[in-house]
Symmetry: C2
Subunit: 715 residues, 2 copies
């Protein structure tokens, strides 16, 4: 991501101004590095400039104006999102060529707009980017006019897979597409209530074309499995749904209320034969199903890879949310004072050990995951570029590996963000509960990320399946373990790794990585053995897998990801040269992330014998005045976590300054860059709708006579 | 709570009807006990009947009608809450005598109304119950007319402590009340922006009288610290604020938007001398401050106890939310099918090990915490009854112990509910993200509970201070450790307990309790020693305490609570006789809760030597085909957790049926008792506002010409 020559701060001064003076000055002055250099290390010159372009475009356009205290009903949120979407398309902030030549501008755009509004970017990505990729992955029979329409806002796309009764298990979807040779068309039907298409984003109000997944039936009555179809559903001028469709908006959601998720039922809805969107299968005009089965499995690997883009972007969504939440909570904590050593003297709550421990590990995670995203995105670009000229098994392998990494990565990153947002909310005390703080919207919008593009728990199984397969092939067929991007390569040394023991203090990243690799190997082998045991016991691999999830396969996928993220961070640290004052801090962050993540698995490290806790005679107490503190390898880890938090606390504000979006994007009364928390909160109080007015209903309700005199006795 | 003769189910049939037949029949038929008997075990006949009365009153009154898909703006939520509050007061569902004679009806009422709407019950409790208690704790100089007004909805109360810059640290509040002998009044002032009163519930729109905390100044300019004052703020007929006050509504919050939190500034606002609300201090008419200092510390203990009621009720709020969330998620999981052993055959997601492990421990916690609440509430009643005729140190001790228990209990219970709600949301997949599922509101409303009535992290310090004090006095002065309700008594045997070691499988509650007590003792002693060490190092007890929070004092308060909750559950099991089929299940729940909670502390059990993990030679792998599974004492714990989840899964639906509120209260399209998830979700889709309409703005925005043609190049 970073070219070291990019670190020329001076040339960037136009787009990253200094912070306004104020209550944060003191905290900022304590930083050991220049946050602008860190910003460049994180994003690189191109991305910093491009985000700046996006953000200043939004800042200068009244339709993108917001205040932290504004409140809209769902209709207004939908309207604003739609109007903003149109504007975004009109702006064409980068050309297609620009995105092709500088692919990092794609996530930069997604993040810059997403941090402004998740409804907006999700609507944009679903109706535009995903849809265009879907069109392009199609067999190419169709002309380009639909893509052009989409690009000019004359059409809007949506993807409709999920049904009322089926989401994760797409195989069992029940919508039917039956080929009718007389009319040369597919007839779509919703056979029962449970088959109603649901959740499709953009479908509720505005999509004109939908990629619909349905079971393909030929006239002979046989079913050929799930296929996708390009289905026009609304008149692009009037937005009137076509006859044969019932389309509705799903209504209120936990969050993302600017996005119009919809539901749809088909009643003998005819679409042209050419609507079938599958490169490898077709139906002859008289109704025979044909398919190029031969490279089916290769294509499957590639499809898996392409479909990973959704999850990869959700990793980015999660990092963006962690960044926003931390920007608010860390700045607030550096200004908010409560209690102190003497009466009258109060200290910033960031000085409390517990506040540091609650926030700073998430800063560490945000840096490590940011790097993970950047690195996985490069892998994805690598894969994507070669995917369409597939001429070997490599692309298939690449696709499967990216699928594995994006599955566990999406699960762990979305959970990390979920917990970070919550911790940040609580770290801001009562004021964190104000709508104007921003956490409510962050949390509610983020919440969907744990579920869509694959439920997290189901996704973890994708990764563990991938890993188990390698190990099985090694043990049962002697195949060496390796993969294109190398994420599994160390597993080939599994027995050597399993013979290692904790080397003492885990005081640098490589040592933590060793512990992590031991953990992964240990969980891989024991999961495999447990699976075997359960298969013998239960006689069924479905049941055996189910009985090996918790503490085995599920943990395996999680530690595999945590190790991989740390490994990629370590590689970044060794491969890129950054100024010393930056690299010192990055190393602290990497180590803190590693130890803090490892902390969740301490018991396994003891169980596995990697850690040792010596048996003590009952009379021999571990507690004596001379040796007061907890002991054992895990104790050292905890002590180091606290030390690192303490070492990093004076850099905490600079670390969030380095990635905080501008104030008008962050849109929080607690997190503004000027640190004027009380003025800003007060502005939110004063300016909210009806702050000082007396509601018209108040007097009337209060003074209405009780109507219950006769009622009470009857209850 | 329970009298065994109460378990006569037949006599209750009128208020607990059977469940409607439907998709849940199968799951229900697998239960090993009668859920109606369990309901009686949980609540007892009186409470079941009383809740039924409350709920049927709400059901029959149109103002309390709701649908899962309704959406209101803040103004409408405020209006509805206010109108419902008035109705609730009018209904007088129980008389004051009834509540006095059967105090369990108080939490029953709070829970029954709270599960309907938290804004409503919080508004009710703040403006009514708390306020009346405040009045009654006053010195009694005032006549009773205000209490009568409140009881007849002719006045509404509020409590105003928090200021913009001070919440947790009340000592430093800055609002001033200066006695003016010429006018014989106190003059209230807000000296600076930061001293603006904020967050006070009911203040925003509707309170007429507020208990205001301010620094009392006498005419000689000296400050006598924080005192409370009864301050009339609005005309009770017109709701017009009086001159000298600026009062506003705080606007949108993360949740609880039916509740009008307010802010207020004073400008030379005069209140009569008699407004001072302190039993023990006064100001003479010429402005001398007088105070009965002698029993100040005793009163402080009592005040602590009385103020615990807020936290005790928040424990109840939390349990209620866990119950609601689990009722939805468990029923949904028993009906929702996804994947299966063979194509076409799908199993309920509750059959997945991971789904069981994600949900069932929370069921266990809900039972254990329910019992904890009931038992602590009894202690509180015991204390409250004697508190006002205080004639010894006993009441002070009782108050301090209740303060300690309610502090850690509130923290752990609110976090437990926070996590349970989130897990339940995720367990319902995409449909869980619908507003109509109910989780959004549950989570957003619940969120405040971790903060108000004391920030959780600050509260944990209250409990650890309490425990450390006992230990210090024991070690330094030889005082035995004991308390009125006995929660700390076992700490007196600390050295004996610390000499114990894990006795093998922790396969019953008493053994888990032993491990827990070891943990508490271990953390108590090491916290004390660490505190000493840090005090020597830092030379300041404030800093030393700060540096001993994480992994020490904070963990101490948490494990102390977890152990106490388990202990009270075990006492319930031994002291009350319930039918065998019930007690078997309760024991499983208790054990599961104990092991699952203990799991978070496994590393400490290794560090402390309670668990042993033998050192292995590097060449000696713990993994061989014959011994595939993780080993060590902690492994057994995990295996037992999974076994217990598996044993309990067929009872899961009956366990939530036993406490689920009626459908019109639960108000969830996923959690209705008929189990018709798809019909109910579809009803929510069809009936939401604007489901099928085309928004008027759509066509207009879509077809508006781009206004950006000339703009792009300028960016
Ligand atoms: C905001 C939002 C936008 C969406 N947009 C779209 C869209 O544009 N197009 C579209 O087609 N869909 C969309 N969806 C639907 C989404 O893709 C699905 O909801 C998601 O894939 C999860 O599937 P599910 O709802 O069936 O969950 P389920 O599979 O029903 O999950 C329910 C529970 O069962 C558990 N579970 C399921 N299977 C297993 C197993 N094998 N082992 C263990 N546990 C299991 C899960 O972990 C979960 O706890 C959207 C959803 C949301 C919330
Ligand atoms: C919905 C709602 C209703 C409310 N109703 C009322 C009401 O009716 N009347 C009223 O007077 N107030 C009310 N409040 C205010 C509420 O009581 C306070 O917000 C609450 O006590 C927390 O205090 P704070 O906001 O000052 O948090 P802070 O103390 O500012 O906490 C901020 C952060 O600092 C940390 N922290 C603070 N001190 C320490 C320490 N010593 N050690 C370690 N960490 C520390 C906290 O853990 C937290 O992470 C309400 C608040 C809400 C959200």
């Amino acid at each position: 991501m970073l070219s070291p020559t990019d670190l020329d701060v001076d040339s960037l001064l136009d787009c990253i101004p200094d912070w306004p003076k104020g209550p944060l000055d003191n905290a900022r002055s304590k930083a050991s590095f220049d946050w602008k250099v860190m910003k460049l290390v994180l994003d690189g010159d191109t991305v910093v400039r491009f985000k700046h372009k996006v953000w200043s475009t939004l800042a200068s356009d009244p339709i993108f104006k917001r205040t932290p205290w504004e409140e809209y009903d769902r209709n207004e949120e939908r309207r604003l999102t739609f109007a903003r979407l149109k504007k975004l398309v009109d702006y064409k902030l980068a050309s297609e060529e620009e995105y092709l030549n500088e692919p990092h501008k794609i996530p930069a755009f997604v993040q810059a707009v997403g941090q402004f509004s998740w409804s907006l970017i999700v609507k944009r990505v679903l109706s535009y980017e995903y849809f265009i990729v879907s069109c392009k992955m199609d067999n190419g029979d169709r002309d380009n006019s639909l893509v052009n329409d989409i690009m000019n806002f004359n059409a809007l796309g949506a993807i409709s897979i999920t049904e009322l009764a089926h989401g994760s298990n797409t195989k069992e979807l029940q919508t039917t597409a039956t080929y009718d040779p007389t009319k040369q068309c597919f007839v779509l039907n919703t056979p029962r209530l449970e088959a109603t298409k649901v959740w499709s984003g953009v479908l509720g109000q505005s999509a004109t074309h939908v990629v619909v997944f349905a079971q393909l039936y030929t006239p002979d009555g046989s079913c050929h499995g799930l296929h996708s179809f390009m289905v026009p559903i609304r008149d692009p001028k009037t937005f009137q749904p076509y006859p044969g469709l019932i389309i509705g908006d799903m209504g209120g959601k936990v969050g993302l209320n600017g996005l119009d998720n919809g539901f749809m039922t088909f009643k003998n809805y005819c679409i042209p034969k050419a609507s079938l969107m599958n490169r490898n299968s077709d139906v002859t005009s008289d109704g025979k199903y044909t398919s190029k089965v031969k490279d089916e499995s290769k294509r499957f690997g590639i499809t898996l890879g392409v479909l990973s883009s959704g999850r990869i972007f959700i990793i980015l969504f999660s990092i963006s949310n962690i960044q926003s939440a931390l920007s608010i909570a860390v700045r607030y904590s550096a200004v908010r004072r409560q209690f102190g050593p003497t009466n009258g003297e109060e200290i910033p709550v960031l000085e409390y050990q517990s506040q540091q421990w609650r926030l700073i590990p998430y800063i560490a995670a945000s840096y490590v995951f940011h790097n993970f995203f950047g690195s996985l995105f490069l892998d994805y670009v690598d894969f994507f570029v070669t995917a369409f000229n597939a001429n070997g098994d490599t692309q298939m392998d690449m696709g499967a590996e990216i699928h594995s990494l994006s599955s566990c990565g999406k699960a762990v990153a979305t959970w990390m963000a979920r917990d970070a947002i919550q911790e940040c909310r609580e770290c801001c005390g009562g004021h964190g509960y104000l709508k104007a703080a921003g956490f409510g919207e962050l949390r509610n919008d983020h919440d969907a990320n744990t579920t869509y593009e694959g439920d997290n728990n189901v996704l973890l199984q994708q990764t563990s399946n991938y890993l188990i397969k390698f190990y099985k092939e090694k043990v049962e067929e002697g195949k060496p373990i390796s993969s294109y991007f190398g994420s599994v390569n160390y597993l080939d040394s599994i027995e050597t790794i399993l013979s290692t023991r904790c080397p003492g203090n885990l005081d640098d990243i490589p040592k933590v990585l060793e512990a992590y690799r031991f953990l992964v190997c240990y969980l891989l082998k024991s999961s495999y053995l447990k699976l075997q045991e359960q298969t013998v016991k239960m006689g069924d691999s479905f049941d055996a897998k189910n009985a090996t999830q918790v503490y085995y396969l599920r943990s395996l996928a999680i530690v595999f990801f945590e190790a991989e993220a740390l490994d990629r961070f370590q590689r970044f640290l060794t491969e890129f040269s950054v100024p010393d004052e930056i690299s010192i801090v990055l190393k602290q962050l990497g180590l803190l992330y590693g130890l803090w993540s490892l902390e969740k698995h301490l018991a396994v490290l003891y169980e596995s014998g990697y850690f040792t806790s010596l048996p003590l005679k009952p009379t021999q107490s571990t507690l004596s005045s001379s040796k007061p503190i907890l002991t054992g390898p895990s104790t050292n880890i905890k002590e180091m976590i606290l030390q690192l938090c303490n070492q990093l606390k004076d850099n905490a504000v600079a670390l969030v300054d380095s990635y905080a979006p501008p104030d008008h994007i962050l849109n929080s009364s607690l997190g503004a860059s000027d640190g004027q928390i009380y003025q800003n909160i007060f502005a939110a109080l004063e300016n909210n709708k009806g702050a000082f007015g007396k509601p018209e209903w108040l007097e009337q309700i209060a003074n209405s006579p009780s109507t219950l005199s006769g009622l009470k006795s009857k209850l």
